[in-house]
Amino acid sequence: MLSRPMNRRSLVRGTGGVTAAALLAARGVDAKAQGTPMPAAAANQEFRIAARTTQVNLDPHLTYNIAQIGTFTYFMWSGLTKLDANLEAVPDIATSWDISEGGKIYTFHLDPNRTFADGSPITAQDVVWSWTRSLDPATESLVAGSYLGAVVGARDYWLGETPDPPTSYRALDDYTFQVELIEPRNYFPEILVHPSAFVVKQSDVEAGSEQAPWPTIAKAFSGPYVIESYSPGERLELTASPSFPVEQTIQRITYRLVEDPQTQFLLYQNDEVDFTQLAVPDAANVINEDPTYRDELIGQPQWWSSNLYLRMELAPFEDEQVRRAFMMAINEDLLIEAVLQDLNPNIDGIYYPGMDVYTDDISRITFDPEAAREVLAQSSYGSAEALPPISFYIAADEQTGTEARLAAAIQEMWREHLGVQVQSRVVATYAEMLESDVQIVIAEEALHYPDAAGIAYFRCQSGSNIAQFCDPEVEAMLEEAASTQDEAESTQVYREIQNTLLDRAAFYPLYQVVAFVLVKPYVMNFAPTAMYTFPAFEEVYIAEH
């Protein structure tokens, strides 16, 4: 087909979270490896970021967006565990933990030297208070009870079904925190990297008012940086916390808050910021046309993908053959090349490269238009004409985005290869779509904690189960994989689940989302991970320039 010169762009293709970062970015790592001396540090260690948001969620218990969490929350707040450079959950406030025989009771041992930014120690009582505050219906966290749902009584309290806070988590003493789970969950420490489980100080939260939301006047930050000033819609300034156990080289982080991607790029070009996300057209241009910023571009595939769902409880997709036929008529390579401009790696399964459970030894449905027509003929409908009207969901606020373009292209492919005309249908909200009779949906799913259990869209009870897939056997397998402490066994079962899903033509994974960022050449050791986090930030520094 169309051949293109091999260039940086192809390095982006899914080689996994950490390795891609090593290939493309981590300036300084190469220098270290070669034995050349690292560039000297500049006098002013200020890191300037252009962030694509105008309102920053400063309260960790009310932050939901992965990009916000990685860009802001992890700098100000900490929890019992954190993500390291390999995206595994490692100790943070908790230095170690014991798991009971049955796997239901976790006992965390907190670091006795760990303090808030105001110098007061972080105790187990603070953890208890934070979790209760996070789950409190008055706090109105949209996700807390879901992440902490494994904890006895948490979900009910969060949904307001019981008035009293759970007693299943408690402080055994000042630095020992114990939690009781409903069922054994081997990924519980992984869940705790999510900010809804992070630690805040009671006196700070209670000092907040209508005029001054508590984070803007807080003193007791649990993370490496504290807020120096916040100008909503304009900028946020953080300075290094004096009492964080690991000393940070960067003393000051300044965020310029702009909503418009072109403006972000302008700030970077005008040397007003050292780091920015890049929108797709700009990234495409940097990769394919204009080499000016090519060395400063990093394209990091995320643990975040887009799937095509054919809803199995609605005609005609209750027939597996019809599902297979439709999937076979999709020319995924062409989609990625033409609509996505080769900027996104293909993804074949439900797990992401870089995860322990990931394997490329899977079989999936590939593009084969003749076979597609045959399979359709063999289905219970027999032909394209016999199919009922089919509609494709478009989110009301996404009608000009990538998903819409993909949908248009895929509709065209079905028309060309199967002779089926699929209509677009705009539905106002996600909830309405779930209840409607729209049969085809493209939706993105991101992983919020680094474990296969976080992929939920094929669980019977999941709100993300657009495809209406529900299989008790799979549920049983999921339970097994989640409760055993034997990692090898767990991985095995997760892989079987993946095979089952692919065999049944339940989903069609489309592509992996990529985070494109620009980093100035004098920023050392800095690159995002596949969960858009920036681990080992203490090693980042500004070189003389």
Binding site: P281, L335, V339, T400, A404, A428
Partner: protein
């Protein structure tokens, strides 16, 4: 010797006089309009635009929805005179189709909205009782909403509703037209644009009619016993026509730009429907790399708005004898 006198009332005389004045007003206007190169230029462009809108989509070599994923975002070439957009659709065809959308805006929004505005405004001015006040309160309410807010909000909220109703209607009646998302789309967007435009027109017309109500020649006509309807047609219309025409042509520009703003915020004409404003907004993030995708619809839009403005100004100058010469 008896003198036969033909009974001549003041009204008769006035009517005779008026007929002469009337004829010469229009004729004068026509001659002066022809002499104005800008207005004529505008008129020509408008005619080209109307022709393009009506027959364009039939003569364009490609369908405006036909995608060619192998040839996306190409600059202008012999195959595609205006290049291709991000899905490989022929840009020229989309521009021509956009002309149709713009034409619909011009007629539906400007004419219909304008007509409603003129009728309601005149009614408000001429009626003596509560009706006038009620109409003005209604315009107050609608004008209190900043246009963009109301338009965005209404589009975002009403579009799914209307599309739902259309789907239901289609299911019930089976009429093909309801199956088209495009029609529902157009209906919502243009309906709301018209909704936003008419109050301004009504206010303007009311103001004009009010001030004319007390002008001398109207008083004279009324005193001489002429009927109100005649007064409206013969006096008020020609004298308010100038500002109203200017306002209408300006309204066309505003409506097009408002639609463009709606698209920028994601609530305008939805793809695959094409409108110049939507094309500008969709391709704005690529303006540095594929400038033709923004310059062409933007340029065409500006030219047509220019044409309408100059034509309207020219008509206004022509109809208003005082502004014709220094």
């Amino acid at each position: 010797m008896s003198v036969r006198t033909v009974p001549v009332t003041l009204g008769d005389a006035a009517r005779a006089q008026e007929r002469i004045k009337h004829r010469s007003l229009w004729r004068d206007a026509w001659t002066s309009a022809i002499r104005n190169p800008f207005a004529m230029g505008g008129a020509i462009i408008i005619m080209v635009f109307v022709v393009a809108a009506v027959i364009g989509p039939y003569v364009s070599p490609y369908s405006y929805t036909e995608q060619d994923l192998f040839n996306t975002e190409h600059p202008p070439s012999w195959d595609h005179w205006f290049g291709t957009d991000e899905l490989g659709r022929d840009f020229l065809s989309r521009i021509l189709y956009g002309a149709r959308t713009a034409f619909l805006v011009a007629t539906l929004v400007t004419v219909v909205g304008g007509a409603i505005g003129v009728v309601l405004g005149a009614t408000a001015a001429l009626s003596e009782g509560m009706l006038g006040g009620a109409i003005m309160r209604l315009t107050d309410v609608l004008m209190s909403f900043p246009h963009l807010l109301l338009a965005v909000f209404a589009n975002a909220t009403l579009r799914p509703l209307v599309q739902d109703r259309f789907n239901t209607l289609h299911e019930i009646t089976g009429i093909g037209i309801f199956r088209s998302q495009l029609i529902a789309d157009y209906l919502v967007v243009f309906g709301i644009l018209a909704l936003v435009s008419w109050p301004g027109m009504a206010r303007l017309v009311r103001g004009q009619v009010l001030s004319l109500k007390h002008a001398e020649f109207v008083e004279a006509a009324r005193v001489s016993g002429a009927e109100p309807r005649w007064i409206i047609l013969r006096h008020l219309v020609p004298n308010t026509l100038g500002p109203v025409i200017v306002s209408l042509t300006a309204a066309f520009g505003s409506a097009m730009l408002l639609e463009s703003a709606l698209s920028y915020l994601g609530v305008g004409i939805q793809p695959p429907g094409a409108s110049w404003g939507a094309m500008i907004s969709e391709n704005l993030d690529m303006w540095r790399y594929e400038p033709h995708l923004v310059l062409v619809p933007g340029g065409v839009l500006a030219v047509v708005i220019f044409a309408f403005n100059f034509f309207g100004d020219g008509l206004n100058d022509a109809l208003n004898p005082r502004s014709r010469r220094r």
